[in-house]
Symmetry: C2
Subunit: 224 residues, 2 copies
């Protein structure tokens, strides 16, 4: 499903090359559940952004469903990002002037759903993450963990075949964390593919495979 | 050092009153090390913002060092916020167009330090949090955990007597987390006061007292 070959991402800063990820060779099959771990700064978010087709590599290739992602153009690229992939950003990336409900309903514009169905579906997702009483709050009227859950609901609302979640429980207490991980497991049991970046050992243990990055490279890739 | 009496914060939203915190009575002495825990949305950040004099309560009183904080005006209020208190925000609140070094040096403007001393002090703090190689990166050129550590360095740079840290390790791997908690313990052993909001049990265990919030009120207040 996901295959990368010698994937590299280099930044130019202060006149120097900084290799955020170097020669990543990764293969993830459909219906896998992978945890991506590693120290702060090791390249996890960079890799996730490439897998989510939100960024392009400096070199190397990324095949998604057998297609070279760098050859994709809109509208196909937009469809991949919005319908096939659900992405939970490490910094949430919510739209400040939209309410929780409006933020979560947004990807459904790609699902050819009428406005009533979009509201109903978005409401359902927000209830699943425990935010039934916060539908009409804007991001600055929500706590950190509530914003994180809006980002999670938005990633799940299109029933994606691939969920890419970058540290989805960093702002959540353990009970709420468990609820979110249960949701992810439901998605997995329905046949979908999950990649979760996490710093927490107990979250990583719930995955079936753990890939560890250090200094932009894969240090280990172990079946749980 | 910190005394609150019937502290309340209420928001008006959708025509309704939302009591984020209700009748908080809290007393923290100098040189205490307190963990503040509780479910997502329970009022922890709201309380921290009040303790940091970054926001004012809807009702109730907050005495800091024996003074009623609501009676403070600039420049005394600004001095309290910038010299006496170090605040690590849950969402970091870094200045996007400033580098890590410039962000950390900013509070030192209140310390009457010349520019060379400010650069030296800010560099030292960034090295202490492991960012010696990221001094000239702007926030959008840093990973999530690196931004979090810039926020921590900025809170520590003025050697505050009170450190208020709102989920300071949420984006950090366990080794980096331990390093940060060691820094906090050094500050504590030097006689200062620490309040840390955390969802992680092992971080809470390093404190000497644990205050738990639920639904805006103190549920328990226990010596560790
Ligand atoms: N501006 C606002 N208007 C309305 N409600 C608000 C506003 N800001 C916060 N709230 C609500 O106040 C409650 C407390 O928020 P707070 O940020 O203090 O929670 P928290 O304990 O820090 O949560 P977390 O662990 O998720 O960070 C939340 O339920 C939130 O929805
Ligand atoms: N625009 C940029 N310019 C220069 N360097 C960058 C840029 N963006 C990221 N980096 C660097 O690339 C490296 C990898 O960043 P990345 O965000 O992928 O790390 P991460 O593993 O997600 O870390 P964390 O666990 O802290 O979130 C970091 O060392 C970071 O400083
Ligand atoms: Mg990251
Ligand atoms: Mg909070």
């Amino acid at each position: 499903l996901i295959v990368t070959e010698n994937l590299c991402k280099t930044y130019l800063i202060g006149g120097q090359q900084l290799m955020a990820i170097k020669n990543i060779n990764l293969a993830i099959s459909a219906n896998e559940y992978v945890a991506l771990t590693g120290p702060s700064g090791s390249g996890k978010s960079t890799l996730m952004n490439l897998l989510g087709a939100l960024d392009s590599p400096s070199s190397g290739t990324y095949w998604l469903n057998g297609k070279d992602v760098s050859s994709l153009q809109d509208p196909e690229l937009a469809a991949v990002r919005n319908k096939q992939i659900g992405f939970v950003f490490q910094t949430f990336n919510l739209i400040p002037r939209f309410t929780a409900l409006e933020n979560v309903a947004l990807p459904l514009l790609y699902a050819n759903m009428g406005p009533e169905d979009r509201i109903r579906m978005a409401t359902e997702k927000l209830c699943e993450v425990g935010l039934s009483k916060r539908l009409h709050h804007k991001p600055n009227e929500l706590s950190g963990g509530q914003r994180q859950r809006v980002a999670i609901a938005r990633a799940l609302v299109n029933n994606p075949t691939i969920l890419l979640a970058d540290e989805p429980t960093g702002n959540l207490d353990s009970k709420t964390s468990d609820d979110i991980m249960d949701l992810f497991e439901n998605l997995h049991h329905a046949g979908n593919t999950i990649v979760v970046v996490t710093h927490e050992a107990d979250i990583a243990q719930r995955a079936l495979r753990v890939v560890r990055l250090t200094d932009g490279q894969i240090e280990s890739d172990i079946i749980n």
